[in-house]
C-alpha cells in the first residue's frame, strides 16, 4: 500500500544523517565481503580453466626401440583416462626448445648428443582432472616399461585448490561477522527512527492499528537502507577494480591470469543487492521486536 512506502521514505528523511552513516557503513562492510567474494570467484574460475587444459607429459626412456614406442603409445591411448595424446620425438623436442629459448640453444650444441627425451603430451579425461586422481593415474603410468617420468603441474593445482578451500572458510567467517555488523548498524538506525516517532506509534496503536501495520514502514526503511548500501558497495568494488587494472603490475597479471580479473556476473550482483535487502529487513525487525517487547 502507498501509505507504507510514503511512511518509509518519511522515516528516511526524518533522520538523514544517521541514514547516510548507516548506508555508508553497510556499503563498506558489504564491500569488504565483496573483496573476498571477488577473489574467491576469480581463483575458482582460474582453477577451473587450469583443470580444463590439464596436461600431463609422459617422458620416455632413451633406450626404447621405435616399435616399443608405438606399442606404448597404443597402450596409453587406450587408457580410459586419456582424452588425447600427441607424440613428441627427441628431434621435435629439440626443435621446440630452440624455438622457445633461442638464446640458450648453444647450451645444447656443446653436448653433442640430443639430451632431450621423447614424450607423450597427454590431455586427461575430465573425470581425472582433480589432484588425487591425477596422482593415482600418474603412479600407474610410471610402472609401465619405457616410461622414464610422468610430470604434471601438480603442486600448482594442489596449492590453488587448498587456497580456494581456505578462502571459502575465511569468506564464510568474514561474511558472517560483517553481516552481523550490517544488521546491527541498520538495527540501531531504525531504533532511532522508532524512538523519534514513539508518540506517533503509540497513537497508531490507540486508533486500532495492528503491530504488523505499524511495523511495515520500518521494515521497508531497513530494506531500502540495505539495498542502497549493497548497491553502493558494488560501485566501490567496481571502481576499485578498474583502478587496480590501471596500475602497472595489476593483480591479474601478477597471478599470471591471461583472462584478467573479472567483476561479478549480473546474477551475483543482484544476489548481493538481495543480501543487503534481507540484512536490512532483519535489522529493522530486530529493533521493532525489541520495542514491541518494551511495551505492548
Amino acid at each position: 500500500m502507498l501509505y507504507w512506502v510514503q511512511e518509509a521514505f518519511a522515516n528516511i528523511r526524518l533522520n538523514r544523517t544517521t541514514t547516510v552513516i548507516a548506508v555508508a557503513t553497510t556499503a563498506f562492510t558489504l564491500a569488504c565481503f565483496g573483496v573476498f567474494l571477488l577473489l574467491y570467484l576469480n581463483l575458482k574460475e582460474m582453477a577451473d580453466s587450469l583443470h580444463e587444459d590439464f596436461q600431463v607429459v609422459v617422458y620416455l626412456s632413451d633406450d626404447v626401440a621405435a616399435q616399443d614406442i608405438s606399442k606404448l603409445r597404443q597402450t596409453v591411448k587406450e587408457d580410459p583416462g586419456v582424452e588425447s595424446l600427441t607424440y613428441v620425438s627427441k628431434e621435435q623436442a629439440l626443435m621446440d626448445f630452440r624455438e622457445q629459448f633461442p638464446a640458450e640453444s648453444h647450451l645444447l650444441d656443446g653436448l653433442g648428443e640430443n639430451p632431450l627425451p621423447a614424450s607423450f603430451e597427454v590431455t586427461l579425461a575430465p573425470s581425472l582432472r582433480s589432484p588425487p586422481s591425477v596422482t593415482r593415474w600418474a603412479e600407474r603410468l610410471r610402472g609401465l616399461p619405457g616410461v622414464a617420468e610422468v610430470r604434471y603441474s601438480r603442486e600448482w593445482v594442489e596449492n590453488l585448490t587448498t587456497m580456494i578451500g581456505y578462502l571459502e572458510l575465511a569468506g564464510f567467517a568474514v561474511g558472517a561477522v560483517l553481516a552481523a555488523a550490517s544488521v546491527t548498524i541498520i538495527a540501531s538506525t531504525i531504533r532511532l527512527t522508532l524512538y523519534a516517532r514513539r508518540e506517533e506509534i503509540q497513537i497508531m496503536r490507540l486508533i486500532g492499528a495492528t503491530p504488523a501495520f505499524i511495523t511495515i514502514p520500518y521494515v521497508l526503511e531497513g530494506a531500502v537502507l540495505g539495498a542502497i548500501g549493497s548497491l553502493l558497495s558494488l560501485a566501490i568494488l567496481k571502481g576499485g577494480l578498474e583502478f587496480m587494472k590501471l596500475q602497472p603490475g595489476a593483480p591479474g597479471q601478477v597471478l599470471g591470469l591471461e583472462t584478467g580479473f573479472h567483476f561479478f556476473p549480473v546474477q551475483v550482483s543482484l544476489l548481493m543487492v538481495l543480501v543487503g535487502l534481507v540484512l536490512g529487513c532483519a535489522g529493522s525487525l530486530i529493533s521493532v521486536l525489541d520495542m514491541g517487547r518494551a511495551r505492548v
Partner: protein
C-alpha cells in the same frame, strides 16, 4: 456493555482508582465527573485498554480486558472511539489524514474513507481546515478534529475525555448535541467532564468519582 468489578489501578503504589464497581448498559449516556486528579482519565484508559488494571476485572462487550491477548486489542479498539484529553493528533499529517487514520488501518476503500471523513469533519464543523496540519489549528479546532476521529468509524462505544474543555459554551453545547445524536443511534457514550453546563444539558446518568472512588451514581432526573 461495560462492567467493572473491584477495579484498582496504582501509579507508583499510589492508588489512582480503588475498588471501582460500575455497570453501564448498551445505549447508555454516562457523565463521569470529579475534581482534577480524581481518576477520570485513568478509568477511560482502562476501558480503552491503554492501561491494564492492577486488581479486579473489566468486561467490555463481554470480553475480559485483563485476559485479552495483545493481538486482539487493536480489533477491540476499532469498535470504540476515544476523544483524548490531550488530543493525540499526528503532527505531520493533515486534519483529513488524521481523521482518516482509523479507517486506513482497517483497510477501508478510498471512496468510503473520503465520504466518512468528510461527514465526520462536517459534524464537528472543521471541514474547511481539512488540509491544515494540527499545529496550525486552535486548541478548540484540534479538539474537534479529535472528536471527528473518534466518531469516524461509527463506534459501538464512544469515550470522551473532557471533550469540551477548549470550546466556547455555544460550541460545547453543539458537541454535546452531537454526542446525544450519536447516542440516539445506539452508541454507548461516556463523557468525562467537570463542565457544569454539560451536566445540566445532558441530564442523564452521572457518576461522580473523587480520589479514585465512586462517590455518587445518579440515574435519570426525569
Amino acid at each position: 456493555m461495560i462492567q467493572l468489578f473491584h477495579v484498582s489501578k496504582y501509579y507508583d503504589r499510589r492508588p489512582a482508582l480503588s475498588d471501582i464497581n460500575l455497570q453501564i448498559d448498551k445505549g447508555e449516556f454516562v457523565l463521569l465527573i470529579g475534581p482534577s486528579g480524581a481518576g477520570k482519565t485513568t478509568l477511560l484508559k482502562l476501558l480503552f485498554c491503554e492501561e491494564r488494571p492492577d486488581e479486579g476485572q473489566i468486561l467490555v462487550q463481554g470480553r475480559n480486558m485483563a485476559r485479552m491477548r495483545p493481538s486482539d486489542v487493536p480489533f477491540l479498539r476499532r469498535t470504540m472511539g476515544m476523544v483524548f484529553q490531550d488530543f493525540r493528533l499526528l503532527p505531520k499529517k493533515s486534519v483529513f489524514e488524521n481523521v482518516a487514520l482509523p479507517l486506513l488501518v482497517q483497510g477501508a476503500s478510498t471512496f468510503e474513507t473520503r465520504r466518512r471523513v468528510m461527514d465526520a469533519l462536517k459534524a464537528v464543523g472543521v471541514e474547511h481546515k481539512r488540509d491544515h496540519r494540527p499545529m496550525m489549528l486552535s486548541a478548540g479546532e484540534q479538539q474537534r478534529v479529535c472528536i471527528a476521529r473518534a466518531i469516524v468509524n461509527g463506534p459501538i462505544i464512544l469515550l470522551a475525555d473532557e471533550p469540551t474543555g477548549n470550546l466556547d459554551p455555544d460550541l460545547a453545547a453543539e458537541i454535546i448535541e452531537l454526542f446525544k445524536a450519536i447516542n440516539a443511534r445506539g452508541t454507548t457514550v461516556m463523557v468525562a467532564t467537570h463542565n457544569r453546563h454539560v451536566i445540566e444539558q445532558v441530564n442523564r446518568r452521572v457518576v461522580a468519582i473523587s480520589q479514585g472512588k465512586v462517590m455518587m451514581d445518579k440515574g435519570y432526573r426525569e
